[in-house]
């Protein structure tokens, strides 16, 4: 039983947790800066990026795909900015134009190219393949200390560990700046912080998180994880530091419970097949948000009407 858990469930849960944290941490700042939907836009343009990368290289391999996705995210952010300024259009609509347009282009190119031999399709991009990231060589807990067996862990795990560590350390290093820019751009300017650089870096970090998480868990989870854990955390406290910690806790809870319910829940109801883990993690994060909306200690803003 334990052995089976380690072989089939440990790595997906770990990857789910790390992907969730990678998205939730930058999500805190996005929500406070009212840019929550940039994560939504970025996760939509990952598909065209991957398709274009596939056309250029002709193979499905990780590095070109990640680069293509990151490139597409960058192009999207720049296009949104250009359309906003050139056309004097409000940010939401500019985003809507850009990401739907790029997504449509991605689907069109995908339909035109012969991808029948390789596993590249829209559904895969949306749902990810969390369940397939297994660790067959593992034999019980002692495998965690066996270097040779550890090497057989899926590459996705190492990548998401790297990205999650990168995002966490950047957040810690630039904490003071992030905090000041998030709450008071004017003040930040007067003390010499270039808020535009911080803002742009935040978008880049968001893109990195989206792309890395997307690879293993798919787009849906990315959107949910950018917003639900930090939004729920926002209703728990008034302190930014504690809010970030809450968001990490919520992301971990969502990943663990989501995966377990998806994998084992159907068995309790007598069904043999599991359901989408990525989808279920998104649902659990939504339930957490719903609970905090109803019972979170800091759910109301000062003077908000109660009804």
């Amino acid at each position: 039983m334990i052995n089976e858990f380690i072989q089939f469930s440990l790595t997906p849960i770990l990857i789910g947790i790390l992907a969730g944290i990678s998205c939730a941490v930058p999500g805190n700042f996005l929500i406070l800066k009212r840019q929550a939907l940039i994560g939504d836009a970025i996760s939509h343009v990952v598909l065209p990026g991957i398709v274009v990368a596939f056309i250029f290289t002709g193979v499905i391999s990780t590095m070109p795909m990640l680069l293509g996705a990151a490139g597409a995210a960058l192009v999207a952010v720049i296009l949104i900015e250009i359309i906003k300024r050139l056309g004097k259009i409000e940010p939401g609509a500019a985003m809507g134009v850009v990401f739907t347009g790029m997504f449509a282009l991605g689907v069109l190119i995908l339909e035109q190219t012969d991808t029948s031999k390789v596993h590249l399709d829209v559904e895969h991009a949306l749902m990810g393949n969390l369940e397939s990231l297994i660790w067959l060589k593992a034999q019980g807990w002692q495998s965690l200390f066996d270097l040779d067996v550890l090497k057989t862990l899926p590459d996705e795990l190492f990548r998401i560990i790297f990205v999650c560590g990168f995002i966490l350390s950047l957040t810690v290093i630039f904490w003071r700046w992030l905090k000041i820019v998030t709450f008071d751009e004017e003040y930040a300017r007067t003390i010499g912080i270039h808020s535009s650089i911080i803002n742009f870096s935040l978008v880049i970090i968001t893109a990195i998180a989206a792309v890395a998480a997307f690879e293993s868990v798919g787009s849906i989870i990315v959107i949910a994880m950018f917003i639900c854990p930090p939004a729920a955390a926002r209703l728990m406290t008034n302190k930014l530091g504690i809010q970030v910690i809450w968001s990490i806790v919520f992301a971990i809870l969502a990943a663990i419970f989501g995966y377990i319910i998806a994998g084992y829940g159907p068995l309790w109801f007598g069904s043999e097949n599991s359901v989408s883990a990525a989808g279920m993690i998104a649902v659990v994060s939504g339930i957490i948000l719903l609970l905090t909306c109803m019972y979170g200690p800091c759910r109301e803003s000062v003077g908000q009407k109660k009804d």
Binding site: L105, S276, G296, R299
Partner: protein
Amino acid sequence: MNTFVQAMLFQAGYNVALVTVGAILLGIAAGSAGTFLFLRKRALVSDAIAHATLPGIGVAFIIMIWLGGDGRSILGLLFGSAITALIGLFIIEWIPRRTRLPEDAAIGSVLGVFFGAGIVLLTVIQTMSSGRQAGLESFLLGSTAGMLFQDAIVIAIGGFFSILGIWIARRPLTIVSFDKDYAISVGYDVRQIDLLMMGLVLGVTVIGMKLVGLILIVAMLIIPAVTARFWSNRMDEVVVIAGFLGGLSGYIGAVLSASAPSLPTGPIIVMIAIVLFVLSLFLAPNSGVFSTFIERRKTKSNIHRRQGLLTIAKGENVVSSFTRKLLANEGLSRTDGLTDKGKKLVTKILIDENRWIAAKEVYPDKDMNINYGIKLIEETLTKDELLKVDQYIKSHKFKSITYD
């Protein structure tokens, strides 16, 4: 090419013609409904609504199977999707009202969570109907390939009724999107009208799902509206233009996709809309990028010409090299002073300058600084106002500026 022309003339078979008519009607409905959404700055709410339809489709399918049906009845699926979209819409409204989270956080969370739930249900259905293709995935990206006759009919009729609904509700919708405070003051219930608008958007979304897919239906709501905004500043015109652009995208897209089966209908319609958007962004006569650029250069030259001429007339040196070049190129000045043409223009500008100064004294409450020094005063004041200004200049109270 032959099929293309046939499809264009609605001659490529009954189903293709129906799909084309459906795409046109849907495009018109989405374009005009989207305009209100865009002007209320709530464009992305439609994205959440669209994603929130997915669990409804799943639940409806499962219930229909339970009841012993086929599960693929389009009306049942659309009904189910409307229910969950409505729940999603309610939550988007509820979260910012009840908590301190902003609307964009509410939109994003509903989008992600409902879509996640939808994906979970799709995997449930895959295992339920083992061996039998449910074909619900076609709702993600839309498809016309396997479209049944009844699907096309539903889209065409639904599109027609959406347009009718927008037509009937156009007045309150316009007033609320244009000026919320005014709408409140004349007794409209803004929340109810917003709900009505969202209801229309929801209707368009649900109907368009089968054709363009729930991920891309947002594009049909947003892009034509944003595009139309480049062509007019009048609300009623923007709605009509957006409807026209939406219908045009739907028509061309459906025809292209009928003549080349590898082009899926939804994405190709969106790409046509994007092409129209990019063209308008650059080429629109008043607010396009090119005309704005030309207008700006004109204004810059106007200011430099005027100030340069006045400086020379005063007998001072023009410092800016841009101004000097401009005056020389236009034959207004030489190294030794103004040309005859330049002198003529100075006289004209002096009259205008005096009129501006006088106008400020005659109408001290009027804010005219926006155009002072840039446009001629005739373009700012009415004829009667100008007459009054001229009378004031002739009276002895005003001391005109003159140069020799």
